[in-house]
Symmetry: C2
Subunit: 206 residues, 2 copies
DNA sequence: GTCTATAAGAGGATAGAC
DNA sequence: GTCTATCCTCTTATAGAC
């Protein structure tokens, strides 16, 4: 019994290593350019071994997405239980977190255009489950912030949600990072400002 | 002389057809998923013929980008000469135009992560020339709007510029379109609002 | 410059030994 | 479940006739 459990732990650890490598490579090169060979080489195993864990490249990408969604959910739960900030502050904290993940090269931004990948994801029950879990959490805060007038009440809540997801892999962050003229903190605060206050900024009289 | 000119016109027309097809397919599937075979089939010519016009897939993508940059430049020039609106209104008009192009399925959004493509683009003189031409035009309006307090003076101008380019291929537009719950005009005005006024909206007291 | 045909190679996925 | 070796399809790019 204990022996089996140990063996399972080893397998789980290997699977985690695979997903972590895939996660990083997806963040770096994107789904279409990343190859399964690269992932296997990065982990240090044979490609055939990888295919014993994940039956396809799409399945591997889904696992990476689930991983980051789980991390997001854990962060959200921690926020919810440890802080007593307003809804808008919670949302900004989540946005800040996603940008930090992106700066760390750990945000697997999948191309929205690859239809084969999309088809695999919308049919993936676990992935959809995690995605909805995160969406519901954020949706609660969004509704609360709109009621409080902290978020524009005239915008549909889904626009808020989609925008937050989109900003989690906004290419602007990579461009600013590549320009090398700003610190990570400056980049994050700047993008937080453009996301929540817009290009016009918060100081207005109209 | 006239005969040669006519023949050149025919060649130019064919080249335009190739670039137009590539443009549409790039908007639909993205650079990595689009194949040269598809483009050739869409135009109705053999692949080898296409390679007589464009020496590589990257060159084809660059031509598509140059095409849309030229259209943008033409729109900007028209704006500049026919209207007497404020700088911020001009910038919003350009953003509105890019979203219309995106909704029409004519915005070739190239993946920021494909390094082979990036290398080809940064080495492409004509492409860089057009990109800088558009950037300079927008940069003038950005500086003017910042001086007038219409755009947040505390944000670096490059952030404004990068953000405008990024919103021209923002996946949020595709998500809202796919949800089918909004008209094209609603989508555009909503995204204009989130871009310039942020998720918090323009009505603030702070 | 356009075509048919094909080279050349990358990449996803699998067979079969251990 | 892990390995080596291989299959097979797809894709970029070119050769050579017309």
């Amino acid at each position: 019994m204990a022996k089996v459990s140990f063996r399972e732990q080893v397998l789980q650890a290997r699977e985690d290593a695979i997903v972590e490598s895939a996660n990083r490579l997806l963040a770096e090169k994107g789904f279409d350019v990343m190859t399964v060979d690269e992932v296997a080489a990065d982990v240090g195993i044979a490609k055939a071994s990888l295919y014993k864990h994940f039956t396809s490249k799409e399945e591997l990408a889904a696992a990476a997405m689930i991983r980051v969604l789980d991390r997001a959910l854990a962060f959200i739960v921690t926020l919810d239980t440890t802080t007593r900030a307003s809804a808008i502050e919670q949302l900004k904290a989540v946005a800040r977190w996603t940008m930090q993940v992106q700066l760390a090269g750990e945000m697997p931004s999948l191309p929205a255009q690859n239809s084969a990948l999309r088809a695999a994801l919308v049919a993936h029950k676990v992935y959809l489950d995690r995605l909805m879990a995160v969406s519901e959490r954020l949706g609660t805060w969004i509704a609360e912030a709109q009621r409080a007038g902290q978020l524009n009440p005239r915008l549909p809540p889904e626009v808020m949600l989609y925008t937050l997801f989109a900003r989690a892999c906004d290419p602007v962050l990579g461009l600013l990072k590549a320009s090398g003229q700003h610190s990570d903190d400056e980049i994050i605060e700047t993008l937080l400002s453009t996301c929540f206050d817009g290009l016009c900024g918060p100081d207005r009289r109209t």
